[in-house]
Symmetry: C2
Subunit: 217 residues, 2 copies
């Protein structure tokens, strides 16, 4: 039915990756799912690397940063970061996908990066500083989006509890002499953290660092 198109392939690949992990996204598996021969995919993507890139670009395509306005750069940068996090959060495999591609080859990623660069420059950072700072910001956003919040997505609360229990047990069975603080914190470590708290704390941390540095020049 739905025609076989580069876009449709990327979408199906993301579905598989989100549901079963990126390792399950295989040319052959993907082709089977799409009711087509593996070689058919090679017409739309020259190789797997480009397929990954298509997945990444489609992923970030769900996020259109709002254009510059008159608010202070801090607020705009925070908006950008939170928006990106929300978008990535929708795809459990987002971090995995983004790790495997060259970001410079993904147009939609470049769009976000360019916005971040503009804001960094307007904050008074030098060209070099803005480069590092934006790399760092985007990287952090990806890390924050990949929080252990995923589990709450498609799974039943029993499954969540199951996973948390397993993780807690693993941490508690560690040597309490070697890792006293880890053992002590088994409870929150196991994933019992409020998602909203996680995000605001993470964004505060990143933005706080940037603002502190900006204030020093």
């Amino acid at each position: 039915m739905g025609k076989l198109t580069a876009q449709a392939i990327a979408e199906r690949a993301l579905e598989i990756g989100d549901a079963e992990g990126l390792d399950a996204v295989t040319i052959r598996r993907l082709a089977t799912d799409l009711g087509v021969t593996p070689m058919a995919l090679y017409w739309h993507y020259k190789n797997k690397e480009l397929l990954l890139l298509g997945m990444a670009d489609h992923l970030i395509g769900g996020f259109a940063p709002r254009p510059a306005d008159e608010r202070p750069w801090q607020a705009q940068l925070r908006d950008l970061t939170e928006g990106l996090i929300r978008t990535l959060r929708a795809h459990p495999c987002a971090k995995n996908v983004l790790e495997q591609i060259d970001p410079v080859a993904a147009p939609n990623f470049l769009q976000v990066w360019d916005r971040a660069l503009a804001l960094a420059r307007s904050a008074g950072f030098s060209v070099e500083e803005s480069c590092l700072l934006t790399k760092y910001l985007l990287q952090s956003a990806i890390a924050i989006a990949d929080a252990p919040v995923h589990f709450t997505a498609g799974k039943s609360s029993e499954e969540i509890e199951q996973l948390a229990r397993a993780k807690r047990f693993g941490l508690q069975s560690l040597s309490a002499e070697r890792y006293p603080h880890l053992v002590e914190m088994a409870e929150p470590m196991a994933g019992g953290v409020d998602p909203a708290m996680y995000d605001t704390f993470g964004v505060d941390l990143v933005l706080g660092g940037i603002e502190a540095l900006a204030a020093r020049r």
Copy 2:
């Protein structure tokens, strides 16, 4: 001859990964390099996942965080971060390896994490906050260590210039309307950043964020 031991396998695997990328680290390739049958490796590592874990642990094993002292937590946390970065910097494939393992299964990683947790707690952060904060700190250290500084390692200066030129060209050939700031910053983006500046700036950013948050409570 060097006996075939789990340690020797992990070391050789790291050498391959550093020199040719983690994708080149294959059970069969590794076995050939070690002059042994692929199946021989399965005696020392039950599967590839555990081999990766062995690589990661051996990697971080090169870094022994100094014990707690009487200095303020900021200085100690900075020391820890810089030490970790230096260690990871020695292995170009470090980030790749660490991305593919469950950190909780790597004893040496847990050691560093525990130290970070202790410092976060002593800074006045709550248990939950310390969890998030340390996750974030370690993740950032890994990202900073993976800076585009690697290229200076084993390669000739001509090769470096070659790579930088290629990247610069790629950036400059982007649509200047769509990504004005990226094009404008092609030069530093292409990797022409002072490594020392990169590191101190990165650490300042991360530590600055943490200190700013600590000061607010």
